[in-house]
């Protein structure tokens, strides 16, 4: 599909209507994650290639040099985790499977909306991020900070996003995920 510059028209009508996050999206970027696994501090750095659609989402995690470290395929019924030199593993719950395979929780279900700036806050109210409203704590306890933005064809799109599980002041932040988005495809 087209690259960021020549994106097809979004189905968002006018720029002042609040952002509506699209179910179909392609996102490419880089991530750095810091987490605690059985008492030990671990960190990982790499790239990601994210393609989401209502019935099929595929996420590829890449090493800094561009090699696939893992490929995660998600359908409403089943999630499959594929890694080099290992048999594919499948399970119904995506987050649990990813946690058992990678050792850290990638909130894939939430990210389908969070990447574009939509979320449900602690009180269960819909939250829509913007350059003026950059932070939310989601219902399941993720604090999301939309730090920088880029000009989108219709409305600004997130560029740098930080996600931390648990409140930022607790020392035992078990996950700190930093994302930077290089390419959007709609």
């Amino acid at each position: 599909c087209s690259s960021f510059q020549s994106m097809e028209k979004l189905n968002i009508f006018s720029s002042d209507t609040p952002r509506s996050c699209s179910e179909k999206a392609g996102v490419k970027g880089r991530f750095s994650i810091h987490y605690q696994a059985d008492g030990k501090e671990e960190s990982l750095h790499g790239g990601f290639d994210w393609k989401q659609a209502p019935d099929y989402t595929v996420i590829t995690l890449l090493s800094p040099l561009g090699q696939s470290m893992a490929k995660i395929e998600i359908t409403p019924q089943l999630t499959t985790f594929i890694a080099p030199n290992k048999a594919p593993r499948s399970a119904a719950n995506a987050e649990e499977l990813i946690k058992s395979e990678l050792g850290w929780t990638l909130p894939v279900t939430g990210l389908k909306d969070w990447l574009q700036g939509c979320a449900t806050d602690m009180q269960g109210k819909p939250f829509i991020a913007s350059p003026e409203s950059k932070q939310v704590i989601t219902r399941d306890g993720w604090q999301i900070d939309y730090i920088t933005w880029i000009e989108g064809p219709v409305m600004p799109l997130p560029k740098r996003i930080n996600l931390t599980k648990g409140s930022s002041d607790s020392t035992d932040v078990d996950i700190n995920l930093k994302l930077v988005i290089d390419e959007w495809h709609f």
Binding site: P64, P84, D182
Partner: protein, 186 residues
């Protein structure tokens, strides 16, 4: 033959410097060049190198002989790993590691294409994301690399301005943490 050139290069190239461009290609589908990146490299055997991406984002992979440093400017993040397990059978190990290639790789001439003579390099250990790496040799120097990983991702690297044995002072490879960057050490 290409294999003689590679072995020669491994023994008599104490250090080298140059530029590279890197493209990701999805094998299987029609060949489609996506997110090409480019930058510079410098290495000094054994185990010291600086692999710098400058376009379209700034990222540095640096090894000082004992540790591997990964710095991403947008993420403002430095991740540090012990070099041993990181270098392993990565492309860096082939070009910049210790010069005893046969120990960790099986090597085979596979003839010429795209104007170079090629060696197929297959890691002997299984714990690597690579299925195989082809190195294109010409005039005794590596000119290109094809990195096949086991999940259908192909990375093409092209070298230019390859200078063998430039003067390199030891301090060059000491990594300095950019001011204000977060540091995660595994």
């Amino acid at each position: 033959t290409a294999l003689d050139q590679l072995k020669n290069f491994s023994t008599n190239a104490r250090s080298a410097r140059g530029e590279f461009s890197q493209a990701q290609v999805k094998t299987g589908e029609k060949i489609r060049f996506t997110n090409t990146t480019s930058g510079t490299f410098l290495f000094s055997r054994p185990g010291k190198f600086i692999w710098t991406y400058s376009k379209p984002y700034e990222q540095v992979l640096q090894a000082d002989g004992t540790r591997l440093y990964m710095y991403d400017k947008d993420l403002n993040q430095v991740t540090i790993k012990k070099l041993g397990d990181a270098l392993g059978s990565s492309p860096a190990a082939i070009l910049f590691g210790s010069n005893n290639l046969e120990k960790s790789f099986s090597l085979k001439n596979i003839g010429a294409h795209n104007g170079y003579e090629w060696v197929e390099v297959v890691p002997k250990t299984k714990d690597t994301p690579f299925e195989k790496i082809n190195i294109g040799m010409k005039d005794g120097l590596p000119q290109a690399m094809e990195l096949y990983d086991s999940l259908g991702q192909l990375t093409l690297i092209k070298f230019t301005k390859f200078t063998k044995n430039p003067p390199v002072n030891a301090g060059t490879f000491r990594f300095v943490v950019p001011k204000g960057a977060d540091v995660f050490e595994n």
